[in-house]
């Protein structure tokens, strides 16, 4: 039970800190009278002012690329330990890995056929 008071203290601190920070900001910040919203809606400390509307649609293709990439990225993680221990693991592991890659290739084939790799 020894650690729980410390944990509880941390919990209280995590709750109190954002409340305290926001309360202090509210207390000390200047409160402009005229048209406070216009300045607030402009780009702040992160680049130039935007041109045109920012509420436009982004292409979903990028997301599909990322997904396909991720699948093969994770596959590599599995391939490394297998390759390192290849001699010790033997034929059984080799066949297992072939099956694993074949399943992923079906996925790639599917993504390709459905047009996930084309940029329209």
């Amino acid at each position: 039970m020894g650690d729980y008071p410390a944990l509880g203290l941390f919990f209280l601190l995590t709750v109190a800190f954002p409340i305290g920070a926001m309360a202090a900001a509210w207390l000390f910040r200047p409160k402009p009278k005229a048209d406070p919203l216009h300045e607030k809606y402009t780009t702040y400390e992160c680049g130039v002012d935007t041109v045109g509307k920012t509420w436009i649609r982004f292409k979903v293709n990028y997301f599909l690329y990322a997904l396909v990439f991720l699948v093969f990225d994770v596959e590599t993680i599995f391939l490394y330990p297998w390759a390192v221990k290849f001699q010790a693991l033997g034929l059984f592991a080799f066949i297992e890995m072939i099956i694993f890659i074949a399943i992923l290739l079906v996925g790639l084939w599917y993504a390709w056929k459905e047009g996930a790799l084309e940029w329209h």
Binding site: M1, Y4, V106, K113
Partner: protein, 471 residues
């Protein structure tokens, strides 16, 4: 290591891939070939799993258990999958691509099978995600339908949230006990508050999946928006998978007798409010799919009663009732799918006068709903008898009384649909074409619901053998 123990799972995984490839190779107009392969393949695997029912043994050092408990649930999932495929035969004409639909049903089934047999929390989680991710896509499968898309998005967000809660709980349990296999957990569980918090979070994660109040908010919207066969599958199979995993985890890893954490009381309170809320909200529903959604929340409460009892009767009831619930609920949703196919609506007014248009549909709906309400001689009565008898045996008399009273309340809204079908008037009196496959599913559901109610012996014996694996 004997890989032949995993043959059912390997067959299901291969079938899913074959169906997917068939859809890739053949042009879209030959989609029926993919659905044919999916249906007959699943049926053959179902027959194989009946044939290999007595197979037992642990593989991968207890990470995966092949035992009668898991085999019972595998049988349940495959049966449900076959019925759902029969049900979608005609319904799937409105999909842009059928092969993916069937492949995803098969992958979801595989995920459920992993869940029911997993002997370790990470394997359990992987199975759960395989099932849920397949369902995210299936729920949103009616691409042009706004409700379906909305349901898919809601399910994605809430499902991810519940998975995160479950994972958070698992991380607590692992951090404080140093193990995640069910075998070695009992020895390393201590009475620490953080560990109990972890177990409570795990319960909350599962409670989302089996839609137990107060984690039920997603259920009505998603059941209403999803394609009706998927709603049926979601309500019977994914729930049964949740119960299987929950029962195996808490019975084998967190023994209530040790009193590390008396989870039965927590589940008892959840079961009570689930039964109350599910039944009372169902009373006011005007849409049959929503009504069945609230009824399925209440049914989850009844099944939870068996888990609370945690004795032979109660657990037998969980397995027996889950199986019976498959036939009753799939039957009811099959009728809803047929009516939706014909009228495009699922409101209660679409069902009025159904007895004149399609006597078979009206009769099946009535019988299935009586089974859900627990009226003898339907199978639901025998199941509820086991569940409530188990609760009384282990001292939860108040819970059994709530269950019994609320079962009586539920008769009102179930019979409300029957009243509309038999007494209500409809301007169109033309017959309603159901399609042969759906008719087969209807007959299977209705015959088994009656047979298992009149003669519950064999199924109850099977459930009795199955629960010995986790007692």
């Amino acid at each position: 290591m004997d890989l032949s123990m995993l043959l059912t799972e390997i067959l299901v995984a291969s079938l899913g891939l074959i169906v997917l490839i068939t859809g890739l190779v053949l042009p879209a107009r030959n989609n029926y070939i993919a659905s044919g392969i999916a249906f007959w393949g699943t049926l053959l695997i179902l027959l194989y799993s009946i044939f290999s029912f007595s197979q037992q043994g642990a593989i991968f050092n207890g990470v995966y258990n092949v035992d009668l408990f898991g085999n019972f649930f595998k049988l349940l999932f495959l049966t449900a999958a076959v019925l759902v495929m029969l049900m979608s035969w005609k319904y799937s004409n409105r999909f842009h691509k059928k092969s993916e639909f069937y492949a995803l049903i098969i992958f979801a089934t595989l995920g459920m099978m992993l869940m029911s047999a997993a002997g370790e929390l990470i394997t359990l989680y992987v199975g759960l995600e395989l099932m849920t991710i397949s369902f995210y896509i299936l729920v949103a499968y009616l691409l042009t339908d706004k409700l379906s898309g909305e349901a898919g998005l809601k399910y994605l967000i809430l499902g991810s949230l519940s998975s995160a809660i479950l994972l958070f709980g698992i991380s607590f349990v692992y951090a404080l006990s140093g193990t995640i296999t069910f075998e070695s957990l009992p020895a390393s569980l201590t009475n620490q508050p953080a560990l109990i918090a972890g177990l409570v979070l795990i319960i909350a994660g599962f409670a989302f999946k089996i839609s137990v109040v107060p984690f039920h908010m997603w259920t009505p919207d998603i059941y209403q928006g999803a394609p009706t066969p998927i709603t049926a599958y979601l309500s019977v199979a994914s729930k049964a998978a949740g119960f299987a995993a929950l029962a195996r985890f808490f019975m084998t890893a967190v023994d209530p007798v040790d009193m590390v954490f008396d989870w039965t009381l927590l589940l008892a309170v959840l079961a009570a409010i689930t039964i109350l809320a599910g039944n009372l909200i169902a009373l006011t529903q005007k849409d049959v799919k929503r009504l069945l959604a609230y009824s399925s929340i209440a049914q989850a409460g009844y099944i939870l009663v068996g888990l609370v009892a945690a004795n032979t009767y109660g657990l037998k009831g969980v397995l027996f009732y889950s199986m019976v619930y498959v036939f009753a609920n799939v039957g009811a949703f099959a009728v809803a799918a047929a009516v939706e196919n014909d009228t495009g609506k699922t409101g209660i007014e679409a069902f009025s006068g159904l007895s004149k248009r399609a006597p078979l549909l009206a009769a099946v709906m009535t019988i299935c709903m009586l089974s859900l309400a627990g009226i003898p001689p339907m199978a639901g009565f025998a199941g509820k008898f086991y569940l409530f008898a188990g609760a009384i045996q282990s001292g939860y008399l108040w819970l059994a009384i709530i269950g019994l009273v609320m079962s009586m309340v539920s008769v009102y809204y179930y019979l409300g649909v029957a009243k509309a079908m038999y007494i209500g008037e409809n301007e169109t009196a033309d017959g309603l074409s159901t399609g042969g496959a759906l008719k087969v599913a209807l007959w299977i559901c209705v015959v088994l619901t009656i047979v298992m109610g009149v003669y519950p012996g064999p199924l109850s014996e099977l459930a009795g053998f199955a629960i010995q694996a986790i007692m």
